[in-house]
């Protein structure tokens, strides 16, 4: 991309794996055989988003995703999370032939947030069964 030379303050860079490429361990995969399915964490810091003056806690948000090769060869070009969704579905249809997907979510976890409202009151909000932190990997 052409670098714009406007004097705007340099924003922190968020680097994400490109969604369309097979996986971030592609180079390792090619060189050392199959890279098994692994859970990964994607952390977004609230300081980077400029929210720290009104969100007291947590300091950031962690999203989790699975990447790597699942044991069951459904289709090699799927990423692990899509693979898990399809395999879980097929397992339901043919439980004796197709094993459970390893990286399907196994539990929903609550998430809590502490923040200021318009009247400077502090509010603690808890959402039950809201995020996936645990899967079979």
């Amino acid at each position: 991309a052409v670098r714009h030379n406007n004097p705007r303050k340099k924003k922190p860079k968020h680097d994400l794996p490109h969604p369309n490429r097979p996986g971030i361990f592609d180079q390792n995969h090619a060189s050392s055989g199959r890279q098994g399915c692994k859970k990964h964490e994607l952390y977004v810091s609230f300081s980077d988003l400029g929210w720290r003056d009104w969100v007291l806690a947590p300091t950031g948000y962690s999203a989790y995703y699975c990447d790597g090769e699942c044991d069951y060869p459904l289709s090699s070009c799927m990423n692990a999370t899509n693979h898990a969704t399809i395999q879980a579905l097929v397992h339901l249809l043919k439980p004796n032939e197709v094993p459970k997907a390893c990286c399907a979510p196994t539990k929903l976890s609550p998430i809590s947030v502490l923040f200021y409202d318009d009247n400077n009151n502090v509010i603690l909000k808890k959402h039950r069964n809201m995020v996936v932190k645990h899967c079979g990997c």
């Binding site: 991309a1 860079k13 968020h14 680097d15 994400l16 794996p17 490109h18 490429r21 971030i24 592609d26 180079q27 390792n28 977004v44 988003l49 929210w51 009104w54 969100v55 007291l56 806690a57 947590p58 948000y61 539990k107 976890s109 609550p110 998430i111 809590s112 947030v113 502490l114 923040f115 200021y116 409202d117 318009d118 009247n119 400077n120 009151n121 502090v122 509010i123 603690l124 909000k125 808890k126 959402h127 039950r128 809201m130 995020v131």
Partner: protein, 259 residues
């Protein structure tokens, strides 16, 4: 770089993607978006400190997995040591709460000490509207007591908190007793008074919120000013100013669209 290997598959987020990511996180956390405090005043830090302790207590429960209730000791330790022996069962109230709100003390007035006894002090809080589909399970008025100067440490103070139900011109208002505690003069710490019944009425009918009235008496029923016995008001240090905290529970399981 991940595990020492540079990855060409990474790329910079576009502005739109950053906005979408922020919107997703705000939605997931149920946050309304950046508040616009009016007027922008520096709120006392006593409530945020208390709430931060609650947050850590609640989050550690989240990590332990469902169904792990709280023992009151864990939470009352986490939620700053309080002097009070009458603190409601904070443990279960906190772990079952879906929302906890702390309110900044708006108006505070005291009876003129030149007037005849009894002395009193009023506190009124600006209660933000009830969160949708939630009911009050507990509410506390928290006030900090320091060590008063020139008092024998082993005397006992009786501190009582009333709800101001109806104001009358040139006469004392109608009051309803909410909570009362006996505290040694020589001790310091947070006092927590149960004001659940009053806060229920205020949230359902905000106009009935006339605040609470605090009295202090000695063992001989002699009325004292709150300031004389070390009770901190709005002019005290920001980390020790009084506040109210209310615990809510969703009336029915909140249904949010699956993510």
């Amino acid at each position: 770089q991940v595990e020492g290997v540079a990855h060409s598959s990474f790329r910079r987020l576009s502005g739109r993607e950053k906005k979408e990511m922020q919107k997703e996180i705000l939605s997931l956390l149920g946050l309304p978006g950046r508040p616009r405090p009016h007027p922008p005043l520096r709120p006392p830090s006593s409530a945020p400190l208390f709430m931060l302790d609650l947050y850590h207590a609640v989050s550690s429960e989240d990590d332990d997995g469902p169904g792990l209730g709280f023992s009151p000791e864990v939470v009352s330790h986490a939620a700053l040591p309080t002097l009070s022996t009458h603190t409601p069962p904070l443990g279960t109230v906190v772990s079952e709460a879906d929302t906890v709100m702390s309110f900044v003390n708006l108006v505070e007035q005291e009876k003129d000490l030149l007037q005849p006894r009894p002395y009193w002090k009023d506190f009124r809080f600006d209660l933000t509207p009830l969160p949708q589909g939630e009911t009050v399970t507990a509410a506390e008025f928290r006030i900090y007591k320091t060590l008063p100067v020139g008092w024998r440490a082993n005397r006992t103070l009786h501190i009582s908190v009333y709800e101001i139900q109806r104001e009358k011109r040139y006469r004392d208002p109608d009051l309803a007793l909410l909570d009362m505690q006996s505290v040694p003069t020589g001790q310091e710490g947070w006092l927590a008074f149960d004001v659940t019944s009053a806060s229920n009425r205020w949230l359902l009918n905000p106009r009935s919120n006339l605040g609470i009235r605090l009295y202090v008496e000695t063992e001989e029923d002699r009325s004292l000013s709150a300031g004389w016995v070390g009770l901190v008001g709005r002019r005290g240090p920001r980390s020790k100013q009084p506040f109210m905290v209310t615990f809510f529970r969703a009336s029915q399981a909140p249904c949010r669209p699956p993510r």
